[in-house]
C-alpha cells in the first residue's frame, strides 16, 4: 500500500512540475541556510575530544600581584589562564595526575639541514613535553613522541607536522633527518598525520581555530637555548622582570605557560584542586601567591566556554537562519494548500469509491515526505556548495569548520522531512475534510 502511495505521490508531483519544483526549492534553500550556519556553530562548539574531555584539566593559579587584580572579566576578578615557569615546573615534577604537560610557544627561522640559509622560513614552534601527544591524541604518521629522558636532558629533537614534512622532505619518512631551528640542529623523531582538532582547546581563545603548529620540540630545549619570542608568546608580568632575558622571566612572576593535566577520572578533580590549593599555600611561605586564592581547574568544555570562542555572531546567524527556514516553510505550506486545493476532485473520487480519511491522509503525507526528502537532498547539495563558498569568504577560519560530518547530514534530511510533515499537516487535514459529494457533483 505504501509503495502505491509513493507511486501516486510521484505521479502527482510530476503532474505539476513548476509547483513541485517551487516547493522543493523553497524547502531546500531554507534547509541549506540553516545547515550552513548550524554546521559552523556546531563544529565550533562540539566536544573536541569526547573520550577524555571530562578528565583533561587546565590549571589556573592565583599568583598575581597583591596591589591589583589580574583583570576584570564579566564584572568579576579573573586570574590568568597561564602559569609561571616556577609553578609549571613544580606541578609538572610532582606528577600528581596520570599525565601532565607544559605548553609554550616560540617563533624562529627553520630549514632542513640540507637547505641553504636563505631558504629558512619563519616558523611557529610548539615547545612542550613528551606527554602532550598522548594527552591530546595527536596522530603519528611516522615515528613516536620523544622520550621522558629526552625531555629531562633537553635533547634537541623535533616532531614535524605532515605539511612541514612534505615541504622539507617530500613527505618521506624523515625520522633521523635533521632540521635547523634558529640555527641549531634538531633531529626528527616523529611526523604527525593530519590533526583536525576543533577547537584546538589547549590554547587560548584567539588561537583555538588555527592549525596545529609545524614543529614540536622539548620544552627543556627552549629553556636551555634561552629562547623567548615576545612577539609570539602571550606573556603577562608583574614584579621585577626583563623580557629580554629568558632567565629573568623564568625567575619572575610572569605568566606565559599553559599547564594541562590528565586524571584517571572526572571524580579526581576535587582531589587535584585540593592538591593545587595546598601547593599555593606552600608557596605562600616563600612570599608568593599574595592574593586571595581563586585557583581553579577547568575541564576541556569548561575551558572552551570560558574562552568564549563561539562568537555571538555565529549564534545570531543560526537564529536568523532558523527564522529564514520558517519563512520558507510557511511559503511551502501555502504552495501545498494551492496544490491540494487543485486536487479536490481526485480526493472526492477516491473517497466515493471507498478510501477512508486516513487513507487520504496517508497518501498526502507520503507526498509531503517525498517533498521533504527531495528538499533535504537538494538542501544538502546547496548547503555543501554554500559551505565551500563560506570557506572561501571566511578563509581566516579553519576550513574544517565548514565540513559536515555524517551526523549533520542525517540531521539535515531528518529536519527537512520532519518540518515538511509538520507544515504539511494543515493542508493535509484540509484535504481529508473534503466531502465526496460536493466534488462529485461538478464532475
Amino acid at each position: 500500500m505504501l509503495i502505491y502511495y509513493i507511486k501516486l505521490a510521484v505521479i502527482s508531483l510530476r503532474r505539476t512540475p513548476l509547483l513541485s519544483f517551487l516547493m522543493i526549492a523553497t524547502i531546500s534553500v531554507g534547509i541549506a541556510a540553516t545547515m550552513i550556519t548550524y554546521t559552523v556553530s556546531y563544529m565550533m562548539s562540539k566536544d573536541p575530544i569526547p573520550s577524555k574531555s571530562e578528565r583533561l584539566f587546565t590549571v589556573h593559579l592565583s599568583s598575581w600581584s597583591p596591589d591589583q587584580m589580574f583583570r576584570m572579566r564579566d564584572g568579576k576578578e579573573d586570574i590568568p589562564m597561564f602559569v609561571t615557569y616556577q609553578d609549571a615546573m613544580n606541578l609538572y615534577r610532582q606528577k600528581v595526575g596520570v599525565n601532565q604537560t607544559i605548553i609554550s610557544s616560540h617563533k624562529a627561522m627553520a630549514r632542513s639541514s640540507t637547505q641553504p640559509i636563505n631558504e629558512a622560513i619563519s616558523t611557529y614552534i610548539r615547545p612542550t613535553t613528551h606527554e602532550f601527544f598522548g594527552m591530546f591524541e595527536a596522530p603519528f604518521l611516522y615515528g613516536n613522541p620523544w622520550s621522558s629522558l629526552e625531555d629531562e636532558q633537553g635533547t634537541q629533537v623535533v616532531v614535524l607536522s605532515k605539511q612541514r614534512n612534505e615541504r622539507l622532505f617530500d613527505g618521506q619518512n624523515s625520522i633521523g633527518k635533521e632540521v635547523l631551528i634558529g640555527g641549531l640542529l634538531y633531529r626528527v623523531v616523529g611526523v604527525l598525520d593530519d590533526w583536525p582538532l576543533i577547537p584546538r582547546f589547549y590554547l587560548e581563545g584567539s588561537e583555538m581555530f588555527t592549525e596545529a603548529r609545524d614543529m614540536f620540540i622539548p620544552f627543556r630545549t627552549q629553556v636551555n637555548n634561552n629562547w623567548l619570542s615576545t612577539k609570539d608568546t602571550s606573556i603577562y608580568c608583574w614584579g621585577d622582570y626583563d623580557l629580554n632575558e629568558l632567565n629573568s622571566v623564568l625567575n619572575s612572576e610572569c605568566v606565559w605557560l599553559y599547564f594541562w593535566v590528565e586524571l584517571n577520572s572526572a571524580e579526581q578533580r576535587s582531589d587535584y584542586l585540593n592538591f593545587v590549593n595546598n601547593y599555593a599555600m606552600e608557596q605562600r611561605e616563600f612570599g608568593r601567591f599574595p592574593r586571595e586564592q581563586m585557583n581553579r581547574v577547568f575541564d576541556v568544555n569548561e575551558f572552551i566556554k570560558y574562552s568564549k570562542v563561539v562568537s555571538s555572531d555565529s549564534k545570531i546567524a543560526v537564529w536568523l537562519a532558523v527564522a529564514f527556514l520558517i519563512a520558507c516553510l510557511l511559503n511551502c505550506m501555502s504552495l501545498m494548500m494551492t496544490k491540494f486545493h487543485g486536487k479536490g476532485s481526485e480526493v472526492g473520487l477516491r473517497r466515493a469509491i471507498g478510501a477512508s480519511q486516513q487513507d487520504i491522509a496517508c497518501q498526502f503525507t507520503c507526498e509531503a515526505v517525498l517533498i521533504g526528502f527531495a528538499g533535504g537532498v537538494l538542501g544538502l547539495v546547496l548547503a555543501n556548495i554554500g559551505l565551500s563558498v563560506t570557506a572561501q569568504v571566511y578563509s581566516h577560519l579553519n576550513a574544517q569548520l565548514m565540513t559536515m560530518n555524517i551526523e549533520l547530514v542525517m540531521i539535515t534530511i531528518l529536519v527537512s522531512v520532519a518540518t515538511s510533515i509538520l507544515f504539511g499537516g494543515y493542508p493535509i487535514y484540509r484535504a481529508c475534510k473534503i466531502q465526496p459529494s460536493s466534488q462529485l457533483k461538478s464532475l
Binding site: 623580557l243 536568523l320 569568504v393
Partner: protein, 403 residues
C-alpha cells in the same frame, strides 16, 4: 477605498491562505530588519576611521643584535637612521605594537589611583618620538613629542613622567561632558600617573574586534625586546619600492632576520576579514529573504486568481474594468502585506529584547523598522503585478460557464 470592505470580507471567508502569507511576511520582516541593522553596524565597524596614512605605511619585525641593552639600543638607532636615510622613506619609527596587527598590550585607565574598578581600557603604543608623524595622526589639541622626550626601557611600564598623547575617543570616555578637559589632566595607566599632553583625532588600536579599539595611548619610549616592530612611512606612491629598499638594506647583515613584512592595507584587510565576511553573508541573507517573500506573495496571488476565475468573470460581466480588477488584487495584497508588516513590527520588538538580553547588542532603532517595512511592501507590490494582470485578462464569458 470602497473596495477594501469586500476584500476584508473575502479574506475572512478563507482565512488560512492569507494568514500563511501574513505570517511569512511577518517572519521575513523580522529577519530583514535585524539583518539590515547588523549589516549597517558591520559597515560602520569596517569603515571605522583608522587615522593612519594607510596608503604609505608598512611594518615589519626585525631582530636586533647586541650582547647587552646598550649595544642593542645603539644598533637599533643605527638601523633606524639608515632606514630613514633611504630615498623612498619619509619617516620611520619603532613602536611596541602595530595598529590592526592583532598583537599588542594595554592598560586599565583610571582617573583616581585608588579606584578598585577602572574607567576604561586602552591599548598602549610605546616607541620613538616620531610615532605621530610616522602614522600621520591628526593632532587636534596640545602637543606631540620631540627628541628630548624620548627614552628607552625594557619593561612594559609607563613610569617616566614625560606625558602621553591619547585619542579623542579615549578623552571622550574620560570626560564625557567635554573631551577638551582631558588635556593637561593626570590619568593612571594601571598605577603609573601620566599627564595628557596631546590629543589626536583618530587612531585605531591593535585589535579590530576590540570594543575599545579607538582608545589608544602613545608614549615616547622605545621598548627593547628580542624582535622590534618597525613602522615605515614611504613617500607617496613609493611604498612597493620602499619595502624592497628596506629589506635590501637590512639583509646586508647576514645574522638579521625580517618577518611579518606587511603593508598597512594588507594588515587592514586581514584585520577586518571576519567583519567583511559577516557583511557579505548578511547581504546574501537579505537578498535571499526578499526573493523568497516575493515568491510567496506571487504564489499566493496566483492561487487566489485561479480560485476566483468565476468571481472575476462575474465582476467583469457586471462592468468592472480591467484596471479595477488590477486595483482589486493589488489592494488585497497590499492589505495582506501590511498586516504582515504590522505583526512583523511586534515580532521585531520582541526579538530585539531577546537579542539585547542574550547577545549584548544594541536594539534596532526605529528608522530601520520603517525602511524594512517599505522594502517588504514594495517587494510585495512587485510580486503581485503579474498575477493581477493575469486576473484582468479573465474574460467576462467565464461567468457564464459552469465550474
Amino acid at each position: 477605498m470602497k473596495d477594501l470592505k469586500p476584500i476584508i470580507k473575502s479574506l475572512l471567508h478563507s482565512k488560512m491562505a492569507p494568514l500563511l502569507i501574513i505570517l511569512q511576511v511577518a517572519v521575513t520582516f523580522t529577519i530583514l530588519v535585524n539583518s539590515i541593522y547588523l549589516m549597517v553596524e558591520k559597515h560602520a565597524d569596517i569603515n571605522n576611521p583608522s587615522g593612519l596614512a594607510e596608503e604609505s605605511l608598512f611594518s615589519f619585525q626585525m631582530s636586533i643584535n647586541g650582547e647587552d641593552m646598550d649595544e642593542k639600543v645603539a644598533n637599533l638607532y643605527r638601523d633606524l637612521e639608515s632606514i630613514r636615510a633611504l630615498e623612498s622613506v619619509a619617516e620611520v619609527t619603532t613602536v611596541s605594537s602595530i595598529p590592526l596587527s592583532h598583537r599588542g598590550g594595554g592598560f586599565e585607565i583610571r582617573l583616581d589611583p585608588n579606584e578598585s574598578g577602572y574607567i576604561t581600557k586602552a591599548a598602549f603604543f610605546t616607541g620613538g618620538h616620531q610615532i605621530i608623524e610616522t602614522m600621520e595622526l591628526n593632532l587636534i589639541a596640545g602637543e606631540g613629542f620631540s627628541l628630548i622626550d624620548e627614552g628607552v626601557m625594557s619593561t612594559f611600564l609607563a613610569d617616566r613622567a614625560v606625558g602621553i598623547v591619547i585619542t579623542k575617543a579615549l578623552a571622550q570616555e574620560l570626560y564625557p561632558e567635554d573631551w577638551h578637559k582631558a588635556l593637561g589632566k593626570t590619568v593612571y595607566l594601571n598605577q603609573s600617573p601620566q599627564t595628557i599632553r596631546g590629543i589626536v583625532e583618530h587612531m585605531v588600536g591593535p585589535w579590530s574586534f576590540w570594543p575599545q579599539k579607538n582608545n589608544n595611548v602613545i608614549y615616547p619610549t622605545i621598548f627593547i625586546m628580542g624582535d622590534m616592530n618597525v613602522l615605515v612611512k614611504a613617500h607617496k606612491g613609493q611604498r612597493e619600492k620602499s619595502m624592497r629598499d628596506v629589506v635590501e638594506l637590512l639583509m646586508q647583515d647576514p645574522s638579521r632576520y625580517i618577518d611579518e613584512l606587511k603593508s598597512m592595507s594588507e594588515l587592514k584587510e586581514t584585520a577586518y576579514q571576519a567583519q567583511n565576511a559577516a557583511y557579505t553573508t548578511l547581504q546574501a541573507v537579505i537578498l535571499g529573504l526578499s526573493l523568497i517573500t516575493m515568491l510567496g506573495v506571487f504564489g499566493q496571488a496566483r492561487f487566489t486568481v485561479l480560485k476566483r476565475r468565476k468571481q472575476i468573470g462575474t465582476m467583469r460581466a457586471l462592468g468592472a474594468s480591467r484596471v479595477e480588477i488590477i486595483r482589486y488584487f493589488t489592494l488585497e495584497n497590499a492589505f495582506i502585506t501590511a498586516c504582515g508588516i504590522a505583526i512583523g513590527v511586534i515580532l521585531t520588538i520582541l526579538a530585539n529584547n531577546l537579542i539585547v538580553e542574550h547577545f549584548a547588542l544594541s536594539p534596532v532603532p526605529v528608522p530601520y523598522i520603517i525602511y524594512g517595512g517599505v522594502i517588504i511592501f514594495i517587494a510585495g507590490l512587485v510580486a503581485v503585478i503579474q498575477p493581477s494582470i493575469k486576473a484582468s485578462n479573465v474574460s467576462p464569458a467565464e461567468a457564464t460557464r459552469s465550474v
